[in-house]
Symmetry: D2
Subunit: 106 residues, 4 copies
């Protein structure tokens, strides 16, 4: 299973439900943002240390997995609708970041 | 290049800059949220129709690619720090969604 | 009832529940962001036109009122914890915006 | 200066620039969300303790004031366009929260 497979599965899912009219980039950006809001709510009262151990709590773990999944689903769907290759864009961005933030010599 | 390769590249990037102490799940959720905010700003005044043609504008295209990349980078890094397999979580979520939203018969 | 009264009421509310330790600016920013995410989810599949008529639906109206209230509550609490006068900051920002975006002559 | 005065000032500001067509609730929710994203970015790498002292840094203080102002501006404008009384909604919400979260006896 790759990110391309996931995009295809989401395309089929939307097609089978006639959801394409709702899946404009504007709407999908909002859906992505709403899911990130739910993810944020799971971490809002945790200290940074508690957040690092979040998966030790089974209920919190299930919720975090669920929200991370939703974020990836909408991100993948948004990129697919726009015709963007996410992994290529991400790699190009790291290339730029390597120039912007030179590694500390060690 | 797979999502796993991207996670590895981000791990190396953070290690080379001694950024691990900053990369708590809580902080990374905020960073993800901030990037989604920047992505949202690019689409806020567009109609849904204009949003569908966003990549026809070269400057907007570059900005959208840049923000989508940042969202994937922080999402991947967050999942890696938490020890979560994003693609597995996303597929499990679609499995649940298929039960929750049965396809319209056609 | 003014914004200052609201800040006082929220202060009393947090004090009575010993919630001050959770109300760091960092945590409150996340709580604010989570509520804006919930608000966003209410509008994500609506067209702009439908969004303008959102309050005609009693259930959606109740949800929008609830989320707008939560956003103001966390924004007010955050500003209070930081010692910021929100209305003064907002007015100063409009002053700057008036220079940045001159009115079209009519 | 009250929240009502602020709403009036924003109404005049939008009118003078013919911005009403852009100020649909959907668009304003996105604008609000984008500003909260910028606010979040200011706090993302700070520890909770550092976040409590954020205003001691003059540059960070100016940025926090600026973003908090923007959040209030879009929140006020959104509520005005929808015809919602923000302070009334917020007070009604605290009334409900007092039932939901009884104060610890002291």
């Amino acid at each position: 299973m790759t990110l391309d497979d996931l995009a295809q599965r989401l395309r089929d899912f939307a097609d089978a439900r006639d959801w394409q009219p709702y899946h404009t980039p504007k709407n999908l950006v909002m859906a992505l943002s709403g899911e990130v809001g739910e993810l944020t709510a799971l971490f809002q009262w945790l200290t940074p240390e508690e957040s690092a151990a979040a998966l030790a709590d089974p209920e919190l773990k299930a919720n975090v997995l669920d929200e991370l999944a939703d974020v990836l689903l909408y991100l993948t769907r948004l990129a697919d609708v726009l015709g963007i290759d996410l992994l290529e864009a991400a790699n190009a961005k790291i290339d730029r970041n390597e120039l912007r933030f030179p590694a500390t010599g060690r």
